[in-house]
Subunit: 240 residues, 2 copies
DNA sequence: AAGAGTAGATACAGATCGGTATCTGCTTTT
DNA sequence: AAAAGCAGATACCGATCTGTATCTACTCTT
């Protein structure tokens, strides 16, 4: 709680993130994207069934009949609630994304330490995620591969998800005196996406630790330059 | 002395790779996975149409009728040649993988320099790939997200593709005196997969350069520990 | 010239796809 | 108690899916 509070106060973006993400109805007991706990309403049952089916069998390959049957509801209820299959997909992605972020940041907040420790703990939480037997990769990445990226609705949802993550990373790196947070965000995006895909394809969760090692290399260099020039830009550094 | 020749002679694995990959019928004029040049036979036309359709619209969402229509052939010919849709998918993945690797290593070989320069040039070639307007991500990664990884045929094809890449990376890092090539291979797998996914999702090819920068961090540390006596740490690098 | 192999065209099969219409209950609100 | 709304059940729609059967036409080999 202490670490979480200080982090939220220091990072303006992460404050917004964590406040938006708090959803008591989620009650994340498990850690995978496909196993967020849902309620007993028809809508919740449909989203739970759809989430599991989409993550496990793909979006396009999973039919609405399968989802309705798995949810124990009527197909008509699915269309009354979500309009069409695309609406269901979007609702599932947004909900699972919010549930994942809530779990992710909560796990990170358990770790004690400064901003650098928090940033590195990110990869330990990733490894926890990869180790779940129901880990099927990141639904957002899978959706990006399955659908055309010209799909603007999908682009928007994925961008919002990444924006939450990037905001937190940028805030943490700013605490460390990072003169170029955008670069650090790009590095972390690379390492996270790479670890997710590599772990998914190989079935080996240890890629999270390899990503952590590469992140340590960057943060180590960051710390060295931050100590030398606390509030200087990179250009002035190269001329010295 | 040709760089390619020396590289092949030095790395046992890469020698096997490059010899296997040489296929005169491919004649790669373009650089995307979906645009390997195919012949005029019915089988070639089918594979060309299937490759483009699968990469552009996904594997499961693309029907065999669409492929046959695009190829200008009869659907019966498709089933006579490939048995079923899965056979066609596997043939396309293997062929496109071989074509991509042939193009990839040929582009790298154009770069002059030692093994470290070659390893870093890898990311410049990736950026070239990302910049292609017909870049739809890596078909192997997309297939991994779309199909269950329990699919053993698919696992085998993807593993073979990755094995080719990993063998070359391990050989190059061994030339540099790397005491732990497996670690370097894991790092490069991470960086390549991450760059591919990040570029695909964001539509920004510059992630290849960010991956290159992270690789430079690792290779720099590698060079320092290889040249300096083993007890020396990397902290001396920061103020040079 | 005869036969074999390849490929095109067409039609079809059985299943599933996304999506809708209709009707019957049940619960909640007023 | 009456009204309103939600959800289940069923049947159905047209389209598309993978895969097959059949028949014809062309080319290459012997």
């Amino acid at each position: 709680m202490d670490d979480l509070t200080s982090t939220v106060e220091d990072g303006a973006t992460s404050q917004v993130v964590l406040q938006q993400e708090s959803d008591p109805t989620l009650c994340l007991g498990a850690r995978t994207l496909c196993s967020a706990r849902y309620g007993n309403t028809t809508r919740e049952k449909l989203m739970a069934a759809a989430s599991w089916s989409f993550c496990h069998g793909g979006f396009q390959a999973t039919g609405v009949d399968t989802i309705a049957r798995r949810a124990g509801t009527a197909k008509t209820s699915l269309y009354k609630h979500f309009g069409n299959k695309d609406g269901l997909i979007e609702a599932v992605l947004e909900r699972e994304g919010a549930a994942w972020r809530a779990w992710f940041f909560a796990e990170i907040a358990k770790v004690q330490g400064d901003a650098e420790a928090q940033l590195l703990a990110l990869f330990d939480v990733l490894e926890l995620w990869f180790s779940d037997p129901h880990f099927f990769g990141c639904p957002f990445i899978n959706a990006a591969g399955e659908f055309d990226m010209q799909n603007m609705r999908l682009r928007k949802i994925i961008a919002a998800h990444k924006s939450h993550l990037n905001g937190w990373i940028a805030a943490q790196s700013a605490i460390l005196g990072d003169a170029d947070p955008d670069r650090t965000v790009a590095y972390f995006t690379l390492l996270m996406d790479g670890a997710i895909v590599a772990a998914q394809v190989s079935g080996n969760a240890s890629f999270a630790q390899h990503a952590k090692e590469l992140a340590e290399l960057h943060l180590g260099k960051l710390r060295a330059t931050a100590l030398v020039t606390p509030h200087r830009t990179d250009d002035s550094l190269s001329h010295s």
